[in-house]
Amino acid sequence: MNDITLTEDQRDCLQELINVAMGQASDKLARYLQTFVHLQVPYIELIDSTVLPERFAETYAEEGVSLVSQGFYGEKGILGESLLIYKSHDAHGIAEILGYEPDDVSEVEQLTDISSILTTTFLNGLAEQIDNQLAYSAPRVVSSMETPLEQHLQQLSFNWDLALKVDISYQVVDFSFNCDMVLLIPGEAIKNIQKVLDQILDEF
């Protein structure tokens, strides 16, 4: 399984598809919040399953995180898990951003609300470009205070040794709010995505 590598063309193609999907998701969020979302170029890497918990621990070591995890399943063997990761102070600030009264709606619901805007817009945008239809599992909210991220990663509904990790950062400047989106796509599905990328590359 560890023999998978992306060619430069495949990486460029995937990056462009992700840029477009990310643009749609941030536009949706920007219109919803009536603010501006600052976009960065997404970072794509192939990552070994054993390295990921460690990598997460490094990135989010300083404080607790809340994570909204949602599986997606499409045609042509395309599937994966989308993780939206919020540092604790960002998670606590969502009520204000969404204009909810304090104690009106639980933090879990707030996280689910904002995540569904980002995740479904992003993934539908990606699916549309590769001529696919996606179905989603129900989102799960995981707090690192209660469940270590490592444990959650091990419990994901698919087994994977190697995953395509795509890091996308959404920064809402007006509210000093950030969240990271990580897409995990397991080994077999990476090969299926490579086929789709090659088809797109053949068209141009």
């Binding site: 477009v20 990310m22 536009d27 219109r31 501006f36 960065q40 170029v41 141009f204």
Partner: protein, 121 residues
């Protein structure tokens, strides 16, 4: 005489998509730039009729190119081709003198409409 056209995008796929979407009857001579810095180098060196410009790019981004062009008047017709389609971004590039804004992924129909609208075709 062919119109010199510059396509600026950091993605090879996106550059090809724009080139392929140009209407076949439009007589152009196409060249490419892979970021804003390269685009400005070309624009300062030679006359370009139409610039197709991405926004999110390394080195100098699309907004940087628009700002430089605003000050230096290098090219008259700039069409932004962007994945970042937020209302605030659209009004910002329009204030900086971009003629039109096309949402990615680009296609011939959209592009032809814009070119006709501004009498470029």
């Amino acid at each position: 005489m062919s119109i010199p056209v510059l396509i600026c995008d950091d993605s090879a796929l996106a550059r090809k998509q724009v080139k392929k979407s140009l209407p076949s009857e439009w007589d152009v001579e196409v060249q490419f730039a892979t970021n804003g810095r390269e685009a400005l180098e070309v624009l300062r060196e030679k006359q370009i009729g139409v610039l197709f410009l991405d926004l999110t790019m390394p080195e100098i981004d699309g907004v940087g190119v628009l700002e430089a062009n605003h000050a230096e008047k290098l090219v008259d017709f700039i069409i932004v081709v962007s994945a970042d389609i937020q209302p605030e971004m659209q009004s910002r590039v329009s204030e900086l003198g971009a003629l039109a804004f096309i949402q990615k992924p680009v296609n011939t129909t959209k592009l032809t409409e814009i070119l006709q609208q501004y009498g470029l075709l």
